[in-house]
Symmetry: C2
Subunit: 281 residues, 2 copies
């Protein structure tokens, strides 16, 4: 998917919501456990109930790998289902991979080619040659970790270097030479929304994937205030707050209700922002 | 596996060799492609031919994930085969995972519990709460990335902070409070063997997993000179140099020949070092 297409979808749906498919068999409604593939059945119903309210789905690999071969089958069925039925969804393999070049090439092939995700989250620690293999696929995206939403983000990411620059800013500065706003996004945690101002000064045009709204405590208003650019430039993720909103047979409707609240907030934020006039096109 | 058991195996086999199972279907001998599970058949023959010369096997997840469900089946068969037939091998899931706490817990369950690997490689970028879930398993190990063997290691890992300390040293200093020499090892690239002196001053007792000997150009003598401690403290990995030594029906014998060369060098290094007398026990 190109950046233009993603922005068109955001305008069409009046939403920059990404729904995280952190599908945990110990948390999904009990009646689904009788299905042949409970994780896929859960995902399918969540997706069918929310697809018009969001522009992106983000399955988190850990939740599938923990079920071994069965989990991998659920994952492949999920991405195939989205790609076939809702091809306008921007799909993110939340994998946080990154290894030496020939190994990153293998991961890139797995996620961007064979499973045909639009993007993959990548960890920056191993530097340029660990990231470049993912950038070689046309119209595919790297979403590089910059400033994450967890407590441990302050262990290394905010350490100041000799130039008084935090590591996450060095990651932004250095990596923007590897790609551009058409193939490189960044993970920026919502729990530090005020930091978005400085981040935007370094990467004004790149999309930011913002986790941590909802269960992790970030504020959507703050994120939009400091992070939105003239092509929106934001994908805000919510996982648990949406997909585990209900635990009965109506879980998908409950998930839709939560997604709708976020979409409605996003619609207002998009209208309030300088993007307003774009809706008049 | 405990540290004592690992050291006993090193003494018994006179080897600190780890063999990387980077099993690539485009590189294995053509006759194996007729097998039902070529990757597993390749691994099985490599393992049977080399197990007495090494103390550790390290399947690299990327090479299995790139084959999807089939690859995951090959991986599970491989780890089960090693655990059943050669339980004295220290098994490493080379996965370079790391995510927020609840997600890292899922990865830990996948690799350390369900597949029962002894250890997993973990990326440090997301800090303490991304690493701790892996340390909760008794007699299991985190192998944390410190200084990797690729060119990109110099993008961020060697950046000096305000205290004039390279990031990889900060990772060592900070992370050694999270675990200890009985559950925490570090990845240190062999291409910078002289840096091992400083690394040893920070983590004198921890085992170091050293990739990059062979295909990536590191020297085994240098690694032993600067990195060995009184319990050996080293696992030196070779992947492509061993497993792709041959490409015919005798590929496993060729792999054994390459592994033997490294084991023999390691035996001399262990005898030369202060570990000599330990062999007299």
């Amino acid at each position: 998917m190109t950046r233009v297409e993603l922005f068109e979808n955001i305008k069409k749906k009046k939403s920059f919501l990404c729904i995280g498919l952190d599908t945990d068999l110990t948390k999904i409604p009990a009646h689904l456990l009788l299905e042949e593939d409970p994780a896929f059945e859960f995902n399918k119903q969540i997706i069918d109930a929310t697809h018009d309210l969001c522009v992106s789905y983000k399955p988190n690999m850990a939740f599938y790998e923990t079920e071994g071969v069965k989990g991998w089958i659920s994952l492949e069925k999920t991405i195939n289902y989205i790609n076939e039925k809702y091809p306008d969804q921007f799909t993110i393999a939340d994998a946080k991979r990154g290894d030496i070049g020939n190994t990153s090439s293998m991961y890139a092939k797995a996620f961007l080619e064979k499973m045909n995700f639009d993007s993959i989250t990548v960890a920056p620690y191993m530097g340029e040659d660990s990231v470049m293999p993912f950038l070689e696929y046309p119209n595919k995206w790297v979403i590089l970790l910059a400033l994450t939403s967890n407590k441990g983000a302050f262990d290394f990411q905010t350490t100041l270097n000799g130039n008084n620059e935090a590591l996450y800013k060095q990651v932004l500065e250095t990596s923007k030479k590897w790609g551009n706003a058409d193939n490189l996004m960044y993970v920026v945690g919502a729990t530090k929304a005020e930091m978005l101002t400085e981040i935007r000064s370094i990467v004004p045009d790149n999309f930011l994937l913002v986790p941590g709204v909802g269960a992790q405590g970030g504020s959507l208003n703050e994120v939009a205030k400091y992070g939105m650019n003239d092509q929106c430039g934001l994908l805000v993720n919510s996982s648990r707050g949406i997909i585990y909103a209900g635990n009965g047979k109506d879980f998908a409707l409950k998930a839709r209700a939560e997604a709708l609240i976020l979409q409605q907030e996003m619609q207002l934020l998009l209208l309030d922002a300088k993007l307003t006039k774009l809706f008049g096109e």
